[in-house]
């Protein structure tokens, strides 16, 4: 089972959960299972055409999936998958 690490900015859509596990053979399946389990995440992962957003990157181990097989990248058991979001700072004033 692959272990997906949820970054801090997206944890509000997972009820605070920092990880997500699913038994699925590819990155696409894992992300799909994540988005189904936490529907609020959907617009933060995919654009209107269903492509992964440009301001997040997905890694399997220490490698960008773009350098592997993209979302078709196969997941070995116990693989660590990370979603890396663009973050800019975060100390600005609330509204």
């Amino acid at each position: 089972m692959a272990n997906l690490i949820i970054p801090t900015p997206l944890r509000k859509f997972t009820g605070g959960a920092a990880t997500f596990n699913a038994d699925t053979p590819t990155v696409a399946g894992l992300l799909q299972a994540l988005a189904e389990a936490h529907p609020g995440l959907q617009p933060h992962l995919y654009d209107a055409d269903g492509a992964l957003r440009h301001f997040i990157r997905v890694y399997v181990g220490d490698e960008d999936i773009e350098a592997l097989d993209g979302v078709a990248t196969a997941l070995a058991p116990n693989t660590e998958v990370s979603i890396i979001p663009a973050i800019a700072g975060g100390t600005s004033d609330p509204s």
Binding site: K12, I84, A86, G89, T91, P94, S95
Partner: protein, 385 residues
């Protein structure tokens, strides 16, 4: 050869007796220059360590003034600096820390008009800014001027660090920020305004890592974080180091570059464009509301902020966080004037728009300027945040 004075030799002796660093490393630091953009949470430890370590010339870019709420993390500043320009206060502190180096003050906003000229004057740039437009501006200016960009960024409990656009063997340069994130999140998907906090020590950790990487780049000692992204999650104390690869589609450094100069970064990031902010038809000022209370006029106050904001300061209103409005309609009367407020008036305008459009309310008034306006014009004893 740059000679060192006796005072400098003694001051830097713990570098000089480090076999891998020694007087050669120190000499490179002294001959080196760094432009630090932002002297806030990241910039504070970064500047302190670079100055203490003896980097010969340090430029500080910041147009802001020191505020009380900065002191929780911006360790460059003291209570006595509140209200003074950050770049000036930073320079005074750094000159007191190390009189053997030059500190240059740039009390200006870093913009597309001055970015390239500022960057050009230094060997290395360290990005300690806090917003996407400036992140991309710093990146692009560094790429266009062939400068290394030592990057760190934080969000709440999480930090990132990398060294962008570093020269590689063979004359090429390493990946830059656009290889990692081709475009920023649109403003609507940026974490919401009620979540702007940060654990004060986190920028201290990431800013210190930035200082480490600047010192490695200048001295040539060690292997800088080139083509790699360091991640730190403070909540679980987890660290990861991932690979960053150059992307063929990078508009500056890809296979078919389309960008040869700086662009409009606010536009690129969708900031400053006319935001579809909610328009409210009924507004009350803080003074109006105070008068209603004095006159005993019947009304209800609804506070759409989060509980942790309510704990800092409140007007005694019903707490109904924006995200929970639709489930809490029974707490919002329809037969009395209702004043809705948040911190500054933006979220409450959104709340009113939602309640009017989807739930048919017609008795809602936005408190103009939110609790901040109330604090400023009615109750100065309330804490600002």
């Amino acid at each position: 050869m740059t000679p060192f004075s006796k005072a400098e030799l003694e001051r830097y002796s713990r570098h000089l007796i480090l076999p891998e660093f020694n007087i050669e490393g120190q000499r490179k630091l002294k001959q080196g220059s760094v432009l630090v953009i932002g002297s806030g949470g990241l910039g504070s430890p970064l500047l302190l360590y670079l100055a203490a370590a003896g980097v010969g010339r340090i430029g500080v870019v910041d147009f802001d003034r020191v505020d009380d709420s900065n002191l929780q993390r911006q360790v460059l500043f003291t209570v006595g600096d509140v209200g003074t320009p950050k770049a000036e206060a930073a320079a005074a502190r750094l000159r007191a820390l190390n009189p053997h180096i030059e500190i240059e003050v740039h009390d200006v906003q870093f913009t597309r008009e001055n970015a390239r000229a500022l960057v050009r004057q230094y060997d290395v740039v360290a990005d300690g800014t806090d917003n996407f437009p400036t992140r991309y501006l710093v990146n692009d200016a560094c790429v266009l001027e062939d400068k290394v960009n030592v990057y760190a960024s934080i969000y709440r409990f999480e930090g990132q660090c990398s060294v962008f656009n570093a020269p590689l063997e063979g004359g090429e340069r390493g990946p830059n920020y656009r290889d990692l994130f081709p475009s920023p999140p649109p403003p609507g998907l940026v974490p919401s305004c009620a979540e702007g906090g940060v654990l004060g020590v986190l920028p201290g950790i990431l800013g210190s890592l930035q200082a480490l990487e600047v010192i490695k780049v200048l001295s040539g000692v060690g292997e800088p974080l080139v083509g790699r992204l360091f991640l730190f999650d403070a909540t679980t104390f987890t660290t990861r180091t991932l690979k960053i690869r150059k992307q063929p589609g990078n508009p500056l450094t890809g296979e078919h570059p389309t960008q040869t100069d700086l662009i409009h970064y606010e536009e690129f990031c969708g900031v400053g464009a006319p935001v579809a902010e909610a328009v409210v038809s009924r507004e009350v000022t803080a003074k109006d509301l105070a008068q209603w209370q004095t006159e005993g006029k019947a009304h209800v106050v609804i506070d759409v902020r989060e509980p942790y904001e309510y704990a800092i300061a409140n007007l005694g209103g019903e707490l109904v966080p924006l995200d929970t409005l639709s489930e809490s309609l029974h707490r919002i009367p329809r037969d009395l004037p209702v004043v809705v407020h948040c911190r500054s008036g933006v979220r409450s305008a959104r709340a009113i728009a939602l309640l009017e459009a989807e739930h048919g309310y017609g008795n809602l008034h936005n408190l103009k300027g939110g609790i901040l306006a109330w604090q400023a014009s009615v109750d100065p004893e309330l804490a600002r945040y």
